[in-house]
Symmetry: D2
């Protein structure tokens, strides 16, 4: 979305292996929801593969830079989120005996996990910032529409349930913004790695906030809300998908809980 | 969806007027989310228009049967629900000086509201039955997927939060089914009109249940849940849209509350 | 509450053992939240004890009928629920070398689990019926109060958020009633044991419904709602406590989920 | 609670009038949930009364300092919150022809509203800080108990639903703390009055957070959670009551929504 010239795969749940063959690496496997591959200017893809599946937990992966026209690389299909297809693609890719040289290795062999972590942190914060903007726009649209739309002789904005939605949106968005700002400040002061737990927290908090605000904005708009006459339905599809991508809510919640439980450990 | 040969417009929030001109009626206005018009066998549309805008509240509307190729009728566009377009269409229609004879009137002039009510009740119950089936299928998919998908070395189905989702789905679907069965039984015994308040209740109850079950099934599936590899995302779009169509939740809740408040009226 | 002449302990989470000593049983241990002991007419207590701790899972327990004035039985204290003490008592009991004869055994030795299960089912349904009545009364009070109480120049009952609460209460209470009726009907037809899974469902469904309805009724009443000028706060304490007593929600949800997962088993 | 030597009435929904009689004021009316009156060192009460009921909206009230032993002042009863009575009292007071001199007026006649607002702001922030501490303690207790309590052979802390509760508590408490800190910073920079909208927000946000955290901590504790063996049930009663005292949630949400709607006004 922001840098289409290099496609990336955040959802590496389909296996990809890279095996040594003489001076080359042979990559085999599948990826899906790889972003940006269909952008007309996309020339290279970044992908992670298992180079040492039985090695130490954080040393099994290596990152590769792969030219899109490398023989053996196939775009299987473009994948939708709800009914929306991204023009730049969230594609399923097949790697069939893809041969790469050592110059394709990004960083060092076995350093793929570290690179992924280094990229994910700042990317997550950037996502969260964008989501706050999205939620703010949805709140603005909800306010405008509820004032201009009348039902039973009064603007929708005078109904106490709609007012509750608007107020709760204001409270939750402001709280989410403060949490993101604090996380960004922590990253500047103590580095990305030490700030990782905060990133889990903002991801859950902001996506939940944005999902609820968008859902209620859609309800205020009525049929227009699920159509493409407003950006709300498309945003909803994006936000709902992000609660799965890059670690589903449940994985982040588990990580947060484990850390909290350690803080209050009960000696046996 | 079930009877595409006659298209119908449930969302009459865009104005349509029918004015008398000699022996004819002249219809002008717009409709949207009209279902079935694009079905290859669709020949007639049913539409409601204001024939007496200042008349008594329930005598202002008349229903018309309109051949789809009547001059002045234009399909403006097909409208999506969360990115999904229905092959049979949920279209926006423009009526521009559409001339119809008296034989186009369905029932009697001024009787449009009564016809609408008569059609809506049974249709609503049928929708609810279908939604229960949809929720059951989503629950089945969630159960199967949670047993076959492993994360961190154990099937997702062993996690207590996912088990809570499954149990809550079972409880809510069963409760919704009983409510629908009771409503259908009431309709058989006391007629559609007397059963109208029950229909408001089942619409809200079942749509909320189905929305939650689908959302959680999507979460259990991960990225596959928002793709088209399962029916879940498309079903979600349908269900979410139905919380707006045919009277949004808020209108039904208001009607239910008014009736309840009257039962416990406080004499002043 | 209904039969104070025999006190009973539903919360057997504190250990109680019964060991054979000649012709006698010696009971030792503690119980808490034992109901009815302080009723002036209470003469006997029913208690369950481990008679064969290492025996087969459902054969470890035996039920005993214990005269309240048996030497070694002490009422340690009356226990509150959210500050409320029941006049008949929810007490903590200590059994210190309490000697009983074989005539104190209810049913047969090792049959305590079966007796407990036989008692729990019907008792649970009866609880649920009472909770529905409680929720109905809370809804009635909420309707009356919201009509008589004015804020900012209009009755609270005209506010859309309060109307939503009233309508949701009506929907949920009616759904809960149907579920209870169906369960009672099943018990009559197929017996208590086969109906056990249904009992888990109604317990969770009705307690959640009643908790929400009471909480919202309290909010409509304002300060009077948390005082003793209405029965709402006391009812809330009862209902909230029942979400823990007799198997917390989470245990029932787990049982429901397991059964549902088995219905959709995935062969490996 | 913090300064029992002067009792105060926050819930002035029962009418109190002060009429001029020669050089004196005659106070008549009732107050309830007046805090601190029963403290052994309480000597004075602060109360607000209507001195100009038909005057300009913010000039109708006057604050008075009333010695507790003034003739005509009666403590009617101590009022509970759920089943809890505060030793220092939340009492109902009757004022029957209570005669006071001009020296009893706090500030100036007609300035009562302004004094109330000036006091409420900082008090609200202080309440919120205390509530955050309470929620933190509840989270700590929940972590400790869930690690030491085993069900079905594993600590409760290993169950994913309980882990979700713990993680959500961490997220919500941290977000609430940031919001309070920001509000306190705004009060220091721009004064209490300009910060009033922020105070509405923190009141709603923190009370909802604390209510949920306490409710879940109670569930983790089981029967001990509703007893007085932990502080949780008493804290719950306090927190739930605060969602009513000092402006119920709904009033604050309405104020927040109105302000937000004005930001996005639609010119007609």
């Amino acid at each position: 979305m922001t840098e289409p010239a290099v496609a990336s795969s955040d959802a590496s749940n389909l296996a990809m292996t890279a095996e040594r063959d003489g001076d080359s690496w042979i990559l085999d496997g599948r990826k899906w929801y790889v972003s940006g591959v269909l952008h007309p200017r996309c020339r290279y893809m970044m992908t992670v593969a298992h180079t040492d599946p039985d090695g130490p937990r954080h040393g099994r992966h290596t990152q590769f830079i792969v030219p899109v026209d490398t023989p053996g690389v196939t775009v299987v299909r473009n994948l939708p989120k709800f009914g929306y297809f991204d023009a730049d693609g969230h594609v399923e890719l097949a790697f069939d005996q893809v041969r790469l040289g050592d110059d394709a290795v990004l960083g060092r062999v076995g350093g793929g996990f570290a690179i992924g972590q280094a990229r994910l942190g700042p990317a997550r914060v950037q996502h969260c910032m964008r989501l706050i903007g999205m939620a703010e726009q949805a709140l603005r649209l909800m306010c405008e529409r509820s004032q201009s739309r009348e039902t039973f002789g009064a603007p929708v904005s005078t109904r106490a349930n709609v007012m509750d939605w608007i107020a709760e949106a204001r409270i939750d968005i402001d709280a989410a913004r403060l949490t993101v700002l604090r996380t960004a400040w922590l990253m500047d002061r103590q580095g990305d790695k030490a700030s990782a737990p905060e990133m889990s927290k903002i991801k859950v908090q902001i996506l939940r906030t944005a999902t609820t605000v968008l859902d209620r904005a859609i309800q205020v708009f009525g049929a227009a809300g699920v159509s493409d006459d407003t950006p709300l339905a498309r945003w909803y599809a994006t936000v709902r998908s992000l609660r799965i991508a890059d670690g589903p809510d449940e994985v982040h919640l588990m990580a947060i809980a484990r850390r909290e439980l350690r803080r209050h450990e009960v000696s046996s």
